[in-house]
Amino acid sequence: MEKLRVNPVACAGHGACAELLPELITLDEWGYPIVADQPVPHGLRRAARRAVSSCPALALALSRVA
């Protein structure tokens, strides 16, 4: 089980993550990501990895959750 986490200090509101994974990430009115707190469903894992590697600020990460 993995969860998406945003490093809010590194995040600059680029928005690529929300474009690639709209099921789990939406943008607030200032362009910063609101990440769903649930584990990433199996079918979205590939898209989640793509979103993580697309972040130009390296602010998105997938972390293992027990």
């Binding site: 590194a10 600059a12 928005g15 690529a16 993550c17 474009e19 590697s53 390296l58």
Partner: protein, 202 residues
């Protein structure tokens, strides 16, 4: 008829792919500046800028590989495999080719670290990525001195265009960075903005 022998073909291929690689490397650098400043390409979503930067860099490396291999295989000039990565050991124009070798080494470092990005610290990755600003000018100078092509005409024009494009992009990047509000003043700037817009809150 004087045929184009295979050796001449290889030599032409190396020079041609060299020019294409130079164009692609320039595109990668321009896209990299765009990614860093969170710029957008009109009509494309924001993930496209990062995606293009990555894909064009893969294409550039592919053409770079062909450029180097054709130069090595071609028997017309003595350029061995070692000359591709060790500077200044080639039998042909060693200085100019040497600069190309250094540029290739730096590009290899960029590639490897970018593929292993998730396993590195952000600081280390960023530090190595700055080497792009060394790799590109080395490639330009290598292009100027490696063959007689760059003496005039189309190739020189292409190189000049690349240099102008990068200069313009750098100027844009620096001006954007200079106008950025420092972190300590961000909240204050928004507070002033809100006070100015006081009427809107009613």
């Amino acid at each position: 008829m004087t045929g184009i022998t295979s050796t001449t073909a290889l030599w032409y291929a190396s020079r041609a792919t060299g020019v294409v690689t130079m164009l692609l490397l320039t595109a990668v650098l321009l896209l990299g500046i765009l990614v860093n400043r969170q710029g957008r390409i009109p009509g494309l979503p924001s993930f496209a800028v990062t995606g293009l930067h990555r894909n064009v860099s893969l294409l550039a490396v592919a053409f770079l590989a062909i450029h180097v291999i054709t130069a090595i295989v071609d028997p017309y000039v003595t350029i061995g495999l070692a000359a591709a990565v060790f500077p200044f050991v080639a039998g042909y124009r060693p200085f100019w080719l040497g600069l190309g070798a250094i540029s290739l080494d730096l590009i290899a470092a960029l590639m490897v670290t970018s593929l292993a990005r998730a396993r590195m610290s952000r600081r280390a990755w960023r530090g190595i990525h700055w080497l792009a600003y060394a790799a590109w000018p080395l490639a330009v100078v290598h292009s100027l001195g490696s063959s007689s092509d760059a003496r005039g005409g189309l190739v020189l024009g292409v190189l000049a265009g690349c240099v102008l494009a990068v200069a313009a992009a750098l100027a844009w990047r620096l001006s954007r960075a200079a106008r950025e509000i420092p972190r300590a003043a961000r909240a204050a700037a928004i507070l002033s903005h809100m006070s100015a817009r006081k009427a809107d809150l009613r």
